[in-house]
Amino acid sequence: MVGERGIMSAHVVPKKTYIAVWITLMILTVVTAAVSRIDLGKVSAIVALTIATGKALLVVLFFMGVKYIGQKMTIVVIVAGIFWLAILMVLSMADYGTRLWS
């Protein structure tokens, strides 16, 4: 095996993409801030979290480059992290959510 010095030539993302992502993130920030000023009732929490998740996805996919990652394993690792967090939250709520059922 020769020529390993160039091995790290990973995918270089065009500047434009980064800027576009950045603009989208800014817009989403403004949107979520603005929406919080309107009373949407119970929906407002859902809206806020959906927007936050959208932003997080943008960061993960583009800034952190998961979209360009070749290794499947990394994806598995990330999904595992989210899945375990969900276990913690959902099963905790299995207690709190049903305490009043008596």
């Binding site: 095996m1 020769v2 390993e4 010095r5 160039g6 091995i7 790290m8 030539s9 990973a10 270089v12 993302v13 500047k15 980064y18 800027i19 992502v21 950045w22 993130l25 800014m26 920030t29 979520t32 801030a33 919080s36 000023r37 309107i38 009373d39 949407l40 009732g41 119970k42 407002s44 929490a45 806020a48 979290l49 927007i51 936050a52 932003k55 997080a56 960061v59 993960v60 583009f62 800034f63 952190m64 480059g65 290794q71 394993m73 990394t74 690792v77 990330i78 595992a80 992290g81 989210i82 375990w84 967090l85 913690l88 939250m89 905790s92 709520m93 709190y96 959510g97």
Partner: protein, 227 residues
């Protein structure tokens, strides 16, 4: 298998950054990236504990959380969100510069990232001082006018704990970005070896992401619903 003390063969050929126990640069790079991601999921779980606490208490004491959130400074929170997003952009561009070997841009971008980080910390400090002065630090200091002060205190406990640990992560982030900036200036990273820059970037973006959730959860619940 023969046991003649053979010399490990690849040592002479390679990149100085290749550590002895890896066979190839590729293996080293993959290991390091994977290690970083595994580390980040431990961070997810670390913050996850607090997010769970937040969820439970918000479910139990919703009104108090609204009351607490009303005491947050909407503008500082929003500005800080913007600051962090900008810092993520510069960080992403920094990694890109290292990939294509633009040393000067890399150093500059890293420094800008650090500056954004410092701005964030500065604003956080202003907010913290404000909350402290307003007796919004839990414990003996705490005082709150309203129907349910106790549970507003829980909100503030979580606020301080969550943003506090986040700020701690920011601080660590600023320091390691600084270190990386130093080595970049010394020319350690380039297209053939930029893994450390990339990993610091991942960390930085992760910390940004935590804030992306903290922002709506702490600052933006200020509107009552229902009766």
């Amino acid at each position: 298998m023969s046991h003649s003390p053979a010399v490990v063969t690849h040592d002479q050929v390679h990149n100085p950054a290749l550590q002895h126990h890896f066979a190839t640069m590729e293996q080293q790079q993959e290991a390091s990236t994977m290690g970083m991601w595994v580390f980040l999921i431990t961070e997810i779980m670390f913050f996850g504990g607090m997010f769970t606490a937040y969820m439970v208490y918000r479910y139990m004491y919703y009104q108090a959380f609204v009351a607490g959130s009303e005491k947050m400074d909407f503008w500082w929170g929003t500005i800080n969100t913007v600051v962090l997003i900008c810092s993520s952009l510069t960080m992403a561009l920094a990694v890109r510069s290292s990939q294509i070997g633009q040393r000067k841009a890399l150093v500059v971008l890293l420094i800008i990232t650090m500056l954004f980080g410092c701005v964030f910390m500065g604003i956080k400090a202003i907010e913290y001082t404000g909350h402290w002065k307003e007796h919004q630090f839990p414990g003996t200091n705490f005082h709150f006018e309203g129907p349910d002060p106790q549970h507003v205190e829980i909100f503030f406990s979580l606020y301080w704990a969550m943003t506090g640990f986040h700020a701690l992560h920011m601080l660590i982030g600023i320091i390691i970005v600084g270190v990386i900036a130093f080595y970049s200036w010394r020319g350690k990273y380039g297209p053939d070896y930029y893994n450390p820059v990339e990993n610091v970037g991942l960390y930085w973006h992760f910390v940004d992401m935590v804030w992306i959730y903290l922002y709506p959860l702490l600052y933006l619940i200020s509107h009552k619903h229902g009766g």
